[in-house]
Every structure is written in C-alpha cells, then in structure tokens.
C-alpha cells in the first residue's frame, strides 16, 4: 500500500472548443499523503476546477483526458466504470464547493438532502436521520434535530457551508476536496470554517485537498502546497519550504502580491504584469516565460523538467541549473 491516498501522475485534460484543442491541464503530478492537508494555489483559470472535476470524473462533456493516471486507494479512477465511480463519489471522496448559497438544492429540506445521499447505506430511515443530526451537531449547528426540516434559504451563508461540510464528511471519506470553501464568506466566518475543517480532519483522519487562492489560509491550514500556473504544476513542497524558500519565480511573485505580506506603504497593490498564455496555441518552452523576471535563452525553447530542488521540494524551472 502506498503512503498516498491520492497520486496523480502525468495527467492532462483538454477541452474541444471551436478554436481548437484547449489544453487546460498538462502533465500534472500531485500527491496527497494520508492524513494530510494539501493546498492548491493559483490564479483564476490555472486549472484548479478542472483538476477537481477530473478527480471525481465530472468533467464537462467536451473534455478529454489524453494521458495520465489518478490513483486513489490503489485504484486508477480513470479506468473505473461509471457505476464504480459513482460508488466512490460522496463515500470515499467528497467535495465541499465554493458558493454555499447555491450548492444545496433550494426546494428540498436539509434533512432530505442529507438522508438522500446515504441511499447506499443499509440502514433504517431513523438511523440515517440520527446520523445527519450527529453530523450537524459536530459542525456546530445548534438544535440540529429541529433544523433538519428547514430549507437552505433559512440558513445563513456560514451555516450553509457548515451543512455542506457535514454532508461531505457524513460518509467518513478518506479524501475531502475543498474547492475554495471560504471564498464566498467574510473573514470571521472564514477563520471559523478553517478551524472547523482542521478539527474534523484531525478527528476523522481523512486527507484534504484544499483549493484556494488565499495564501494566508493555505499557510495556516496546509501541510503541503502545490502551486499551479496556466494548467501546470510549477512547484510542490511542504508549506514551510514553498512559503519561505520559493523556488519558482511565479511563486515568488505570488507571495509578493499577497496583501498580508506587504509591509511598505504604497498607493498601488503589486501585481504580476502580463496575462496567462493562450491555452489553445501554447508557446514552446516554459509556460511562465512571458511574465518571468529571470527569463533565459533556454526558457524559450525547452520545457523545464520536474526536478527535486531540495528534499521533497519539487520545481519546474531552469533557474539555478546548468
């Protein structure tokens, strides 16, 4: 048995569009060790959502997976039948989505939705309801038994996200994917949700793949960080390594742009000049070359290899190599 709950190797996802093949994700490697929290950072459009959708295999119909493997609990998810995959969703792998106000069905009661997803369990209805009550209790919903009959719009955004977390963890999955779970919430709630996730993760011993563009949250919560840029993983390592000794120019710039790290008083927020390259007509060489401060001759021609920068700290950059 491997030490990872999730191992992604050489995974690419393309979308067929009118303009041609859009290479949304290319040759991704990613590990989620057991009982750990792995953060994925990157700006909008870097392939974070594609990554999640490909793990639970709910990609858009125009998507293709030309190569790669997604090993989960020693099975390649890409080789499973639709029914085998459906048996994993919500049981072994669960997701907490971004916008809590729209992720719950507005016309079905919370209790109905929470017991519906237990349809595979061979339990009585009363036991299922009890399970849901217990879960709501553990995410801090007061008086859960009486609130089961209520509908999503009767809860606040923070409460709805707690309910989503309760639903996701109800079946005690070994992997929880959290897709920017706090982006739609205010700062106070964000902290509460982060602490809740951390506590539940320790309790249940599951792993979390935490997607965010909020560097502060990642630093606080995650054991490992994966930095994505334009559909590629450019750096991966422990949170300490990546945040204190960033090896990729993109990670460096990203950390400089984090408002929390700005000490000098300035009228403008720092940004990374330039745009992500067009993913249909992808240029040769390094994907970050047009925005990089340290661009060299070889960046234009050859794609940098995925190399170990220091122990367990991987990067894809020509800098510092000969």
């Amino acid at each position: 048995m491997s030490n990872n709950v999730l191992t992604i190797r050489n995974l690419s996802v393309h979308y067929r569009t009118d303009r041609g093949e859009l290479k949304a994700m290319r040759h991704i490697n990613l590990d989620v060790p057991k009982r750990s929290i792995v953060g994925v950072v990157g700006e909008s459009g870097c392939g974070k959502s594609t990554l999640i959708s490909s793990i639970i295999r709910l990609l858009a119909t125009n998507a293709t997976i030309p190569n790669g493997s997604i090993e989960f609990e020693d099975r390649d998810l890409l080789k499973l039948s639709e029914n085998e995959m459906r048996a994993i969703r919500g049981v072994r792998i669960s997701i907490v989505f971004q916008d809590p106000m729209s992720t719950l069905n507005p016309v079905l009661s919370i209790g109905r939705q929470m017991t519906d997803i237990q349809y595979r369990d061979n339990k009585s209805q009363a036991d299922k309801v009890q399970r849901s009550v217990d879960m709501l209790e553990s995410v801090g919903i007061p008086d859960p038994a009486s609130r089961l009959g209520q509908f999503p719009h009767e809860f606040s955004g923070g409460m709805q996200q707690r309910i989503s977390i309760a639903m996701a963890l109800q079946a005690e999955p070994s992997l929880l994917i959290a897709d920017e779970p706090t982006t739609a919430l205010d700062a106070t709630l964000e902290v509460q949700i982060i602490h809740l996730l951390k506590a539940l993760q320790t309790d249940m011993g599951c792993s979390i793949l935490f997607i965010s563009h909020h560097l502060g949250v990642i630093a606080e919560l995650c054991d490992y960080v994966v930095v994505m840029y334009a559909g590629e993983v450019v750096e991966e390592g422990t949170t300490r390594d990546v945040f204190h000794h960033p090896a990729h120019p993109y990670t460096e710039r990203l950390l400089q742009c984090d408002p929390a790290s700005i000490v000098k008083k300035s009228r403008t927020l720092p940004t990374i000049p330039g745009d992500i390259p067009d993913l249909v007509t992808l240029p040769s060489g390094c994907v970050f070359k047009n925005r990089c401060e340290h661009v060299m001759e070889q960046c234009d021609t050859t794609t940098p290899d995925w190399t170990e920068h220091s122990n367990g700290h991987f990067v894809s950059c020509h800098r510092g190599r000969t």
Partner: protein, 314 residues
Amino acid sequence: MLFYVLKRVALSVVIVMLAVTLLYCMIHMVPGDPARILLGPRATPELIASMSARMGLDLPLPVQILRFFGNLFRGDLGMDVITNRPVADIVFGQLPYTLWLIFTAIVFAALIGIPLGCYSALHRNSLADRISGVLSVACITAPAFVVALYSLLVFAVTLHWFPAVGAGEKGAFWDQVSHLVLPAFAIGLSWIGYLARLVRASMLEVMGENHIRTARAYGLAERTVVYRYALKLAILPTVTVIGVGMGFLLSAALFTEIVFARPGIGKLIFDSITTRNYPVVMGSVLVSTALFVISTTLSDLINAWLDPRIRASL
C-alpha cells in the same frame, strides 16, 4: 399563509367584478337592439318593449350592472329569456363538459409534453432533440380549430375511429370518453409543443446550477438527480404557465366545441351571442372568468407548495 389565501380570494372577486362590468359596457356598445333581434323583424313595438323590460335593458347601464351584482350575491344569475329557465342551471349544466374537456386536454399535453421536454434537455442537440424541437414549434403554431377540423376529417369521417359530434350518452362512460378524445387532442396538441419547449428550457437552466453538480458529486443516481432534484425546480414555470393558460384553453374550447357540436360553456356562449340572449352570455362569461381566476390562484398555491422560498415570501 392564511392571510395570503384570503388576499388572493378578495383580489379574485374584484377581478371578476371588473370583468363583468367591462363586458356589460361592451354589450351595450354592440349596435342593434337585442330585443328586436331576438324577436325578429315582424315583432310589434309593444312586444319589443316588454321583452326589453324582461331583460332589464330599459334601465340605465349602471343600474343594470348593480342589479346584476345584487342578484349575483343571492346566487341568482338571472333568467334565460328564451326558455325561461334560470341561467345558473343552464351554465352549471354545461360546465362539466367544458371542465372535462380542458382537464383531459391539459393532462394529455402534460403527460407527453413534460417528459418530451425533459428528454430534449438531457439529450441536448441530439437528433431526437432537434426533431422534437421542430415538431413542438409545428404543434404550437397549429390553431385548435384547424386541428379540430382536420382530426375530425381524418379520424372521424375517414377512419371512423372516433365519433364525430356530441359528447356521448349520459352515464355511458366509455361512450363519453370516446367522444372526448378528438376534441381534447385538438386543444392539447399545441400545449404539447408549448410545454415541451418550456420544460426543456427550464430543465437546461436548472441542470446547469451548482446544486445539481453537488448532487452528482455525492454519487446520486442520474434518475434521482433529474427527476427529484432538478424537475421539482424546473416544473415551477410550467405550473404558472398552465394556470395562466386557462384563458387560452377556454377560448380553444369554444372553437373546438363548435366544430364538434359538443355541449359546453364555449358552445353556450356562442349560441347565446348569436341569439342575443344576454343573461346567458353574462352568466357563462362570469363563470369562465371565475374559472380563469381560480386556476391562476391555484397555480400560485401549487408553486408555493413546491417551493419553500415562495412560501417564505408569502
């Protein structure tokens, strides 16, 4: 909730009264003395005057309207001037025919249109979706009376599958059903297309929403996702449209009842207008207006029952 229902009922009464007043004014503006037309060219002036008095036409218009409402609150819709029977008896005698016709038509349309719309939405841009799209538009554009005439010609006159005219023997269930098939088809056909397009559009919208992605991410069976999680939301606009569509259904029923020589409110309105039998016209229009108001209220209540968000805003 109770307050909402009471409010709707009060509003309905106002709407019905306004409609009746409007109709009274319109009848008043139609040229020709109703009594004279009713009695024919050889009637004496005394006879015409006494007939006018019996119909209440000699009084000023506001008094006529007030008298109508006064009688209405006592459950009296007036007297049929030709047969001298109470209008209420005539109208409520004809009403079940029309109600059954409309009900059958809309159930028939819903049973075909809603699943067709779901199928089209779930197999978007497939050949079946395109064919259903073309057929739906064709159905929508075909007026009820044209469908009535052609189905009469094909299925009754040529093929002899169904009887051509009437509503069947009283008490003979299957005879009445077989008389119901063609008229209901004529009214329901355009609604199949209409409902199919509507359900397809709202289903496509709902299927793209985030909570559907959630339901799928929890491994719920596609059948559960579609028919329990999506359809309950996607059906809401359809319920509203059917409620409001009662008006169109009633006017379609009028033409269809004439074509099939079927008893019913529509036929009654048509016959009483041609004979200028105004008390009957008033009575049947009042009942159809009430029917329309009841059905819109009912559809709003069904929506509130289906959607807790609407319930909360009441």
